[in-house]
Subunit: 720 residues, 2 copies
């Protein structure tokens, strides 16, 4: 293996010879690693594991984070809070897999001090466990691989790291035992409340540093970003992937996407839209044809430059969206007004190589979506469709995902690059008080069809001379898997995911209960049979039901499992229930328990699922609207935003004013977590329904930001 | 525009100054170009268009074709047959868009003599119209763009080309007027039959050189490759794309894929398979983990090396298939035998950057497919699933696409790289007598799960010591859009596409007929109403019906249109039919016409569609089996293959013998068209049903190729 070779060479250059080098089964935990090593004959009889931990300090959005790499004996207690205090860094957190992969091109199971080299060392803070100098046995060091280990002495490891030091950047040797008592002493000298806080922080750290990096138990309100990823992992929605910014969509989340696909497909097909598939590749020339449009995308375009061993003559882009890829063909296919309207849609993935911190579903380098592209003879027809599609998007969110959204139009600054205007349904994440763009439907006008661009025209059927040309009116519209992330954020709670029944791949889970040592085999079988019968009964009426008859798991374990996964309804069946000819229904969304008679259950359960769906939506809607605040004085904008609300301002609709609002509201704010960027407020939408707020009196109502005449009530907020 | 700049510079270096340089609307035909130029004030009052034609001579498969580039005045008659004769080249044909794009990185509307440079010139034969030397007006020359033109004098154009000449490669000046009479004289001196042939060839050329490059009228039996692409274009299945080897799937073909998806999804979901989505990107390290496996794919892997303006630290592959991308996660997710079986499937696109000539659906650089990846505790379970899936594939072909296939197992040489064994359903294209792999279901065995590889294991649930480990048994299986190409090739005829009813997005088209000048407005309306009513009636019983009520098209035009598109059933309704309360049904597959009474049509039409479906399959099956020839003597192998058949040999199953058969049967054969490669016969499948052929007597029946003991009857053939 080449990495092993280069490691051995690097060590040899420092005259360090590993006491042994072994290959072993791939191991993803310290325990498994130890076991794997012990299974290899060459492994020294006595050894200790070396651990490498990477922490990220909290930094302002704009700053580049400097990771802290701790190289220590596996047994050494390395409290991140104490270390943070020592290094004077705020809120050290274990780094995400993404950061590891980006910084070291390694996952946590391959991470090694030997991955530090002249290039990486200056960009990090390296902390080494002082007790390495005295350890007697060889240390097992990952050879930048989960299946290869080199055995080195403690001093050799330190020597390797010291060799990387520069005039500016040194290795920090820390005595963690001493550090612990220092901090405790320090805390003891302070007042009580501070002590409490410190202890709490340590407790939290301990949790995170435990066996599993992604553990349940982070509260939604306390650390939203960690809560979100935890829920996704625990609910079996998603897994991290070896290419940074990409994620595996597991069946539990993909089935939600399938539910959305099925519903949306049926609706657009009724409208006469047909599905098609255009290639994922776009030639550079075609991609760059529309200047404003490409400007919006070019920093994020991924380029293929090589195939096998051959360099391509010209780099080829992976589509970030398909306007320019499709429209040359629209020009070719649309020869007469009889070819209009042309309405195509495709379900595909697009790639936007974001350099900001990725976040599952919300900001990923590849994502799934549908993109519709239509062409009409007249603007009126195009305008009509833009709104029809937007209303379908609203229904996807409100009727399927139970997520309230506000339909409106984007400001000029926020509209789709190269389009005429953009309509949007804007969602809201109450926990952070941030807006989130849910889906957009664009009218492109004639910008892509005009003669200098793709020149998509037909003879004007109403021109008697036959000379008149009409360049077509185009729309494009897209809905992505981001919708799933929004749903998780809005509905999830501290027990995990909460799924709206209409998109849940399991709507009701039936769990046998109350089986004890006293239960007879006959009773057991009766309960099992009843569970299975109930599944059949419910499936017949279209309920996606499943019985959890797994052996060796307690009902409590199963409850927890399905709660984490957000199944809307749990039906418990035990001996008592059987006697009473009922089942105990437990709602995931409210936790409310109520018996449901088995007689008539085929109508009761579907009705209850509908109730759950509707109530989830109503509650979410109530929260959203309670956080939309009408504000008419600038002084109240930032405090209202800080209060986790969005504001509706009577706005002048001038772009420079929008920039100004963003700048002024951002400056005032606290430095934010980089996962929730854009601390300044931007315009989210100009809602179609203006009647909710006081009438704007032309010439009288003023924009609270700049004092000019206000035009329309506009939603501003911090956003994703 | 940079290309214009570089052109102007190149000309300036030769002291050539264009009389004018203009930008104009993009134009895709000579007429449109002329018009676009005339709309620009700067365009000279008088000018002629310059045309550039690229021809490809027929060459043996192994040879690199040397394109012939003809630079001529637009009015000059440039007969390709005469030119071929003059240059002593066989069957000059207009080059495909793919070739243009690959050779010149230009489409036909941007093609320009100015695209010839020191690098390209030696690789082509350049022919220049001698009359360019005498033309008086400026010539409009494409500036390597469909929207930019430079005006040059004839002698300037020739000077530009002469400047590229090397010691070996010269420009050929041809007097096309003289050439024409030469050839005519030559033909006149020959015998009658030859003259006929020559004239026919000229006629064919004329057709191809006409306004539309892809024109109907090529016979399936005469030029299968041209027929195939013509059908695809004319039936509105597909369009060429600006990235070579990629194609646009239009709704007419994509809907077939949707029909396959819906059916196959429902079946695999019954089997407990769940859909998921893994990213399209694979890190180099992960991709290259399984050596045998990657060897099979690496020459065709597309690599992303740049994002925006940043070079990636490591190139990232686009998946050619997902085994190595998925299995690290299988190792992570499968922790106990309770996690088995794991059955995931995804519908996605994969990229294999083929360097052979692409062919729509059959060999494309990006294609759509599903890939299933499953893991089991035991081999028996894995074996069972391999065959269950293969049978679903058989049913997709036979029951949906009406395409007969032979199920069997692949030879060791032809199995999936890195797998244990591969099962296949093998199709057959009667027109070329070639086999075609339709879909494959692989048992990977424990090759990917073994400790040195992805180490996917569980504790053996049946081992009382708790020490035993079982590495899981894995399968992978895939079906691609290639299936659509096979269907087109098998069923299409000289009128165009023929669709089996079950996958046709329009199963019955209703066309109003018999409307003449004498028809009253009332009758007209009655006919229209009846057509619309019939659509409603048929839709109610699940028939995908459409009425073609387009104004301004004759019934004959409509008949032709829907025939080309392959709609299974046409229902004509005219005044006579109305009077008789009937409709005239016309079958696309047989052309048979028969009246269908309107009373009871809701049962008659579905029944007729079923009949069409079944008869299409029966006929195709009969043809297939009539071309599967039992052969036991080597001498008969090549003649049987030449007779457009596949052979079943009692084969020894030794790999060197397979190589030998391929080599010997290839050597004997005629040089083949490059689009149908592999003139030598390879093993297609060892059919599961061996009972069709004489029993093989162990130790007695010999392999006809090498004389060793035969094992099983094996299908050999030329193939795609």
């Amino acid at each position: 293996m080449s990495s092993l070779n280069s490691i051995t060479q690097a060590l040899a250059a420092l005259s360090i010879t590993p006491s042994e080098t072994v290959q072993h089964a791939s191991a993803t935990s310290p325990a498994a690693w130890k076991e794997a090593l012990q299974n290899v004959p060459k492994t020294p009889k006595e050894f200790e594991l070396l651990k490498v931990l990477v922490f990220k300090p909290k930094t302002a959005k704009s700053a580049t984070p400097i990771p802290v790499v701790v190289v220590a004996r596996d047994d050494t207690e390395t409290s991140s809070s104490s270390l943070g205090k020592k290094l004077n860094l705020k809120e050290l957190r274990l780094a995400s897999e993404d950061l590891l992969s980006e910084f070291f091109s390694l996952d946590k199971d391959s991470l090694s001090p030997l991955a530090l080299n002249a290039e990486r060392f200056p960009r990090i803070t390296t902390v080494v466990d002082a007790s390495l100098t005295t350890v007697k046995v060889p240390l097992a060091v990952r050879a930048c691989s989960s299946s290869e280990t080199v055995f080195l002495s403690g001093p050799d490891i330190i020597a390797y790291l010291r060799n990387l030091e520069t005039a500016e950047v040194k290795v920090q040797e820390v005595d963690f035992v001493a550090l612990k008592s220092e901090v405790v002493d320090g805390v003891a000298a302070q007042a009580k409340p501070a002590e409490k806080k410190e202890k709490k922080a340590e407790k939290d750290d301990a949790k995170i540093e435990g066996a599993v990096q992604i553990a349940i138990g982070v509260k939604k309100e306390a650390d939203f970003a960690a809560w979100y990823t935890n829920v996704l992992i625990k609910a079996d929605m998603l897994d991290y992937y070896s290419v940074s910014g990409c994620y595996v969509l597991k069946p539990w989340s993909y089935s939600i996407w399938e539910a959305i696909q099925e519903w949306f497909n049926s609706k657009i097909k009724e409208m006469g839209v047909e599905n098609a598939y255009f290639p994922m590749f776009v030639s550079q020339k075609v991609l760059e044809r529309e200047k404003d449009h490409i400007e919006g995308f070019s920093p994020e375009v991924a380029w293929v430059t090589r195939a096998g061993q051959s360099d391509l003559e010209e780099p080829i882009a992976i589509r970030p969206t398909s306007e320019t890829a499709m429209y040359p063909y629209y020009a070719k296919w649309i020869k007469s007004h009889r070819d209009l309207p042309l309405k195509l849609n495709q379900w595909n993935s697009v790639v936007r190589w974001e350099f900001k911190a990725p976040q599952p579903f919300l900001r990923t380098r590849e994502f799934l979506w549908q993109e519709g592209h239509t062409a009409y003879l007249t603007k009126a027809e195009a305008d009509k469709e833009v709104l029809e599609i937007l209303d379908l998007y609203r229904r996807v969110f409100e009727e399927l995902l139970a997520v309230p959204v506000i339909p409106g139009v984007k400001s000029e600054k926020e509209k789709f690059a190269g389009g005429l205007y953009t309509t949007t349904v804007e969602g809201f994440i109450p926990t952070t008080g941030r807006g989130i763009q849910a889906a957009t439907s664009h009218c492109l006008g004639q910008n892509f069809s005009r003669p200098e661009m793709f020149n998509i025209f037909v003879e004007d059927p109403n021109d008697p001379t036959g000379q008149g040309k009409i360049h077509v009116w185009q729309n494009s519209w897209g809905l992505s898997t981001r919708s799933i992330g929004v749903m998780v954020m809005v509905h999830g709670d501290n027990q995990g995911l909460v799924l709206p029944p209409r998109v849940a791949s399991v709507q009701a889970v039936i769990v046998p209960c109350g089986i004890t040592a006293k239960t007879t085999e006959e009773q057991r079988q009766e309960i099992t049979a009843k569970c299975e019968e109930l599944v059949v009964t419910l499936k017949k009426v279209g309920v996606r039901a499943r019985a959890d008859l797994r052996d060796g798991y307690t009902p409590g374990y199963k409850f927890n499992d399905w709660e984490q996964k957000g199944v809307p309804l749990r039906l418990e069946i035990g001996p008592q229930d059987l006697a009473k000819k009922q089942t105990l229904g437990v709602r995931r969304d409210t936790g409310v328990k109520a018996p449901i008679p088995l007689t008539g259950i085929e109508t009761a359960v579907p009705a209850l699922l509908e109730t759950i769906q509707n109530e989830m939506f109503s509650r979410a809607k109530e929260v959203y609207w309670s956080r939309v605040k009408q504000v008419t004085e600038w002084e109240k904008v930032v405090p209202t935003l800080d209060d986790k609300c969005v504001v509706v301002l009577p706005w002048c609709e001038v772009e420079s004013c929008e920039d100004d609002i963003k700048e002024r509201s951002g400056r005032a704010a606290e430095p934010q977590d980089e996962r929730a960027p854009s601390a300044g407020a931007k315009s989210l939408a100009i809602p179609f329904d203006q009647s909710r707020w006081d009438p704007i009196i032309p010439g009288k109502t003023k924009c609270p930001a700049c004092g000019s005449d206000a035009k329309r009530w506009t939603l501003f907020g911090r956003s994703y």
